[in-house]
Symmetry: C2
């Protein structure tokens, strides 16, 4: 009799060792047996008194277990006592009501390219600042201060646009550093740069709309566009940045144009003023997404970096996107969008429908960190350090890979080393990873087949004195 | 001569008061004039010596300003000196290259309903726990401890699935409390419940696919489905939860079914075991999204709440979604998905392409908070407090709104009061807000026109002794 077999497990010494109470054990065993079909619907259970006697349980324990399973619907009671319910506990194998799960991911999910693994704390991983040089103690202190003043308002859902003091601080910071012309109301704080791009993809374009991306370009941007169902057009990049011809404007007019003008990702070219104005003049009913991703540390001398496109014509359909990942640390997940004044209300409402705000304590701490000048001091302290690292990296690459072209370096925290076809980048990357160094293969940044061959090398986490040895580990 | 008018502003007393340096001011004035078209392309600028003399500047200042504008492309140099560049600084008014911006939001964004404003810290706002009763000091301490042990690995981009210790803690917590059967690898931590739902919408369904939602239902879930371009079908809810007929399964077979089985949002019914099994038996090639949104505090006695659907058949195509918003606080933004074992690799890779992980310090703190038993103690302490509040609220509602039906209350932190047609819910909600009390209108939870009329009243933030007075403010 199967019921007896099921109940015999009440004496299971393993369950005894784990101190699972008899009552819970009885519930679990019956439920498992019912769900697996070992106890058929309608099977009668022994009376509580008998079961308690047979298995050395308290009768109340049995009663409570039965009551629980009755409440959950696994058992049913009638005059004759208690029996297994008559629900379809097991899948009826013969009648599938829907097609079999051939593909359990959506098509758009299957189009997403595999993302690089995140050993982002290892040397030469691009996109990561020096996390050892950040003033952690000072940061922990402003965080602690925010927590010491915690109120219910701050830990409930926050305003979706972000804490007002952070929006003010960001507007002032961007005006001073990047020539962005905006009021605090135009700033919307979001949890991470990718969330910012994703909001653009879903709120400003419909499935099937065309988005222009840079080729080569930033894979996470491409991913959110694909996940939003957009049609991606990959526009080649030259030494002046994204270079769409007049024919492309006619053949594939874009709803969205995604650009990284300060320091094209990954090649490092700066979008020329002429091209910036051209984009503004032609964008018409579409949107320009200006990802100022890599503008934080500028090494070109003399002359400051080109200010943001947004500031050239503040009423143009431009969304300016920035993040604190490199000024502070990637794990912070605080980024922002700056939207035109005329779009504040509608984009604000749409964002509110998509995201619930939070992280107010971190936002308040960050606002203080900016307002108190601590962030600017940190950036000022790091700028010459990164410049030196870049110079040493350049020298070492020239020494070890003589004749190979080196791209980028006007801003940002990485260089690109072009490689001859005899040294395939993916093979070098694999070999380097085995030696504890992360490089990225330039070829993987291309959507099309005619990719470049080279290495992306971030120097954010590479101390200058270690660079010669680290570059040695890259050599084939 | 317009150039002189532009340069005269170098003497602007307001700029003097703000201590804007002359060099920066010269840059700014020239750039503004060029961008606005007040200085025409080709306009010659005076020599640096003359300008310095005329406007009492250091000659070096003028030279640096010119150099900066040359570098940025606003000026160009020739043998004759310096002149305004010949780029198309102003939009050519006569030739718009794209259609005018009739609609600057995407169609899918315009379909998003306006979200309720977030006065979520006021009494009767639903979905918010008692933020004054949370052990803030203990929480700040675990956070501080995490920060005191900070390492580069933890502040770089984190593993997209979440910190391993949190994934382990969540798996154990869910097994014990909700009968969820999973390994830590099946748990993916994401920043907020809405991000979890959004990931389901974009990764498991394509634009145009059908999603079933509960009617009435949870608006943020509907919003992410609309933003993902899905076709929404609203399935009526009765006292046993979502009630799709056999005809609906045939007419509109779903790719996704979104359910809140523990405590239907907003009506509070519990999805019966029979319906749960029916969903599992019929879902076939689609996906069930089980949002266990409101299961945290269970008030029904005797008998624990129904365990999760996920645990009934752990290999079924079920995504279990949960959040720590109510166990801890909404601003934390830590939620999770539990995916079937056979989907871990593919969903994990797709999530990695969409999201970059972060907030490792909060995740590590939370793991400790769970492992150390502090979370369970907090929940245990709060359960009778919430039960009392619900009882008092029920009594007061009966006294003030005699004869009106009260729904829900088996779990969660809110009740629903049905109102007669003579008392339209939106009018009551507006009046209550003016008196500092937040109620939500039941009618706004319906997507279709035949909505119910009533009030959603959260008691998470309402101390029992204040409830009689607060209910008084609701009365018409």
């Amino acid at each position: 009799m199967p019921l007896e077999l099921v109940l015999r497990a009440l004496h299971d010494p393993a369950a005894d060792r784990q101190r699972e109470p008899r009552q819970a054990r009885l519930c679990r065993l019956l439920k498992e047996a019912i769900l697996s079909g070992r106890l058929a619907p309608g099977t009668r259970l022994p009376g509580s008194r008998r079961l308690a006697e047979d298995y050395a349980m308290a009768r109340n324990g049995v009663l409570f277990a039965y009551q629980q399973l009755l409440a959950e619907g696994f058992l049913e009671a009638d005059r004759g006592g208690t029996r297994v319910g008559r629900l379809p506990f097991r899948r009826a194998a013969a009648e599938p009501s829907a097609p079999p799960p051939v593909s359990f991911l959506a098509q758009r999910a299957r189009r997403l390219p595999a993302a690089a693994r995140d050993e982002s704390f290892l040397p030469f991983a691009p996109g990561v600042p020096d996390l050892n040089a950040f003033p952690w103690r000072a940061w922990a202190k402003v965080l602690q201060r925010a927590w010491s003043e915690v109120s219910a308002r701050q830990v409930a859902y926050a305003e979706p646009g972000g804490e007002p003091e952070l929006r003010r601080a960001v507007a002032a910071f961007l005006a001073a550093r990047r020539g962005v012309a905006c009021t605090p109301e135009q700033v919307f704080v979001v949890p991470g740069g990718q969330t910012a791009l994703d909001a653009c993809a879903r709120l400003l374009a419909d499935a099937g709309d065309t988005v222009w991306l840079e080729e080569p370009g930033y894979a996470p941007a491409r991913n959110v566009m694909l996940a939003a169902g957009l049609r991606t057009v990959h526009v080649p990049v030259d030494e002046d940045g994204m270079a769409p011809g007049a024919a492309l404007w006619r053949a594939s007019p874009p709803r969205l144009v995604y650009v990284t003008p300060s320091h094209q990702y990954p090649l490092g070219s700066v979008l020329s003023l002429e091209r910036r104005l051209d984009l503004l003049n032609r964008i018409g009913g579409g949107w320009l997404i200006e990802d100022d991703y890599d503008s934080d540390f500028n090494h070109a001398r003399p002359g400051a970096p080109l200010p943001a496109i947004q500031g050239l014509r503040p009423d143009a359909p431009v969304i300016y996107v920035g993040t604190f990942s490199k000024l502070l640390y990637p794990g912070l997940r605080i980024a922002y969008l700056v939207v035109p004044r005329w779009a504040v209300r509608e984009i604000g409402e749409a964002l509110r429908a998509l995201h619930r705000g939070g992280q107010a304590m971190e936002q308040r701490a960050l606002a203080r960190f900016i307002d108190g000048g601590q962030l600017t001091r940190h950036v000022r302290r790091m700028a010459p350090i990164y410049r030196e690292r870049q110079a040493v990296l350049r020298t070492e690459l020239r020494a070890r890979f003589g004749g190979c072209e080196i791209l980028g370096g006007q801003a940002g925290l990485h260089l690109v080393l072009r490689l001859p076809a005899s040294l395939p980048d993916t093979a070098l990357v694999e070999a380097a990873l085995r030696r504890g160094v992360v490089a990225r293969a330039l070829s993987t940044y291309y959507a099309g087949p005619d990719g470049g061959n080279g290495l992306l090398l971030g120097y954010g986490m590479a101390a200058a004195e270690r660079i010669p040895e680290l570059v040695g580990r890259l050599a084939p």
